[in-house]
């Protein structure tokens, strides 16, 4: 009798576990709506949704290179494999045309699609969960009024067991802190607005926060720096390496314009972010700047710091100091001496002609010794740009830099990077060679063009 009793208990426990797991994992499909060809949403709501979509960079992930906006197909390289962004146009067959608002909100808050499948957190629902009801309403209105595009989703390339979506329920259990956003009463309205935007729709931490082995953000190390598609997203908390401290003004200018004279130019995956931000009202960007500045724990006084690092080897060649029409890169050419270290010789012969020529930023070469690419905690971005350059954008003004991967060996790139790092007065990077190898690999891989153009 004891044995059958134990068996019965075991069976009951098993049932509970199975049922419990299923209850945890399984999500019902939500009823499809009848697709409307000309949906009528309040235009003001749609405009608000457009702003939010810009803040959230929906178009960046959900648009393939040279593809139709929001039609998906863009590959996202993760440590676990390749995930393809979905079609979020209101196409009924291949997009979200059949999604009710409730289905949309569920996806945003719980990472579950209309049919009940779990979405990979490459889609940062762990941030979007903080978005308010009203803002979700606006985003829905915006997306449902976009141009429907018939485009089948591409299949993700993920190994077993990651390709089993249900395991994400377990991931969510540990790592999804559902919303809503809770303002911090010890800070003012502007700060809280910034926090809401950054932590929610802006999902800045998705790139700027380090992740653990399971791909979840390390909340205790928020904004300490992270990786995105082969680029490094620099630290934007108190561990920021910038020799000239960021403040509200400089952050705001950088985010709105895409560059700042004392910090650098936003390229790589940050380029589309600032492109989107450039169209937004000043108030939202200021709020973001206020919040991030506080995370960097810098004061809010205007930029007045002087850097002890020289902007250029010759102070007469500071950015914007020379009119370009006077004769191309008008600058006193710095000379190369045989006894200079290898990196110095490469810099002077190759880089100084654009980067120390007084050409105005952001189109002229930025001065490298203050640039985040050189002063930051990782050499990855510097290496990426030296090897692949910055390609021209499609019909819009943007900085263009030629690539040097064809003429510089890995050793030469390392020499150059070490020299720049020295001139910036920073301790040597310890992973330089590894980062160069990674960048070389990326040059020929599928993610070869992390270009600025949309």
């Amino acid at each position: 009798m004891k044995r059958s009793y134990l068996l019965g208990v075991a069976a009951a426990v098993l049932c509970v576990v199975v049922v419990g797991t299923l209850a945890l994992v399984w999500r019902p499909a939500l009823a499809p709506i009848v697709p409307v060809t000309s949906p009528s949403f309040d235009p003001g709501l749609v405009r608000r949704g457009a702003d939010l979509a810009a803040l959230g960079d929906c178009n960046t992930c959900h648009t393939a290179p040279l593809g139709k906006t929001f039609a998906g197909g863009r590959p996202l390289q993760t440590p676990f494999g390749t995930i393809y962004a979905t079609n979020i146009t209101p196409d009924p067959q291949t997009g979200i045309g059949l999604w009710s608002e409730a289905a949309f909100v569920r996806a945003m808050r719980e990472g579950v699609d209309r049919e009940g499948r779990h979405l990979y957190p490459a889609f940062p629902y762990d941030h979007f969960t903080l978005i308010s009801d009203d803002d979700d309403k606006a985003l829905y209105a915006y997306l449902m009024t976009r141009q429907p595009v018939h485009a089948e989703a591409l299949k993700n390339v993920l190994p077993f067991p990651i390709n089993i979506r249900m395991i994400l329920a377990g991931w969510n259990l540990f790592y999804l802190d559902k919303g809503p956003f809770r303002p911090d009463p010890s800070h003012d309205e502007l700060w809280n607005r910034g926090a809401y935007l950054v932590e929610g729709v802006g999902h800045c931490g998705a790139c700027h926060t380090p992740r653990n082995a399971l791909g979840a953000e390390e909340k205790d190390d928020a904004f300490a720096g992270g990786e995105a598609e082969g680029w490094h997203a620099f630290s934007i908390n108190q561990s920021s390496q910038s020799p000239v401290a960021w403040d509200v003004q400089s952050l705001q200018a950088y985010l709105a314009n895409g560059w700042h004279g004392l910090h650098g130019v936003a390229r790589g995956p940050m380029a589309p972010v600032v492109d989107n931000l450039s169209e937004l009202p000043e108030g939202d960007i200021r709020a973001i700047a206020v919040y991030i500045a506080s995370r960097m724990k810098s004061d809010t006084t205007p930029d007045s710091q002087e850097s002890t690092v020289p902007l250029a080897r010759n102070p007469e060649n500071n950015p914007g100091s020379k009119p370009q029409s006077a004769g191309s890169q008008s600058a006193v050419p710095v000379s190369v001496a045989e006894e200079d270290e290898a990196g110095a010789r490469i810099y002077v012969a190759t880089c100084a002609t654009c980067h120390e020529s007084g050409r105005p930023v952001p189109y002229g070469g930025i001065h490298l010794f203050l640039s985040t690419a050189v002063t930051g905690e990782s050499p990855q971005n510097l290496v990426n740009i030296v090897l692949a350059g910055l390609p021209a954008s499609d019909g819009t003004k943007s900085p263009i830099m030629p690539n040097f991967g064809g003429v510089l060996s890995d050793a030469e790139v390392a020499d150059l990077a070490r020299y720049l790092r020295e001139m910036a007065g920073k301790p040597a990077w310890d992973d330089l060679e590894a980062k160069i190898k990674t960048a070389r690999g990326a040059l020929s891989g599928p993610a070869a063009s992390t270009a600025a153009s949309k």
Partner: protein
């Protein structure tokens, strides 16, 4: 002094290390194909091949090329014995003023050396660093396709012999 191998010939060049390759090619070696278009690596008119890669000679100082092997358009063929690529461009009459063409051809050559059968989309992507103000793009694309055809046919012929 810098030692450069250009189109198979070795040259000792007396130029300061920061001299861009472009001026060495045009002035010291009297080669015409690579041209000055911008000096900034934005237009591609100066493109040559170094180690199989297309490179902007206007921003590449000779200091980086000591001992390296450089190919210019002149190295692909001559007016009496043009290469497949050159024949394709003549056949397609893929030039108007022609100033941009040499640079474009070198990038096309580098592409075809790595990928003998590029698609139209791939050719366009590879040629993106190049500008053509006359608007000869359509012919240029046709010429690159044609070059791929000719080169493929020649390879088949060689294999058969």
């Amino acid at each position: 002094m810098v030692a450069l191998t250009v189109n198979g010939s070795r040259h000792e060049i007396d130029a300061t290390p920061e001299t861009p390759l472009l001026y060495v090619l045009r002035e010291d070696l009297r080669l015409n194909a690579a041209k000055y278009g911008c000096g900034l690596g934005q237009c591609g008119a100066c493109t040559v091949i170094v180690g199989g890669e297309a490179v902007f000679s206007c921003v590449t100082p000779v200091a980086l090329l000591d001992g390296k092997s450089i190919t210019t358009l002149e190295g692909l063929g001559t007016i009496d014995h043009p290469s497949a690529l050159q024949r394709a461009f003549i056949e397609m009459q893929a030039a108007q003023c022609g100033y941009c063409i040499a640079g474009i051809m070198m990038r096309a050559q580098a592409l075809l050396q790595q990928d003998p059968h590029p698609s139209d989309v791939e050719i366009r992507r590879h040629l993106e660093p190049h500008l053509c103000r006359c608007g000869t793009h359509m012919r240029i694309l046709r010429a690159v396709h044609r070059a791929a055809e000719i080169m493929s046919a020649e390879r088949t012929q060689e294999a058969a012999q």
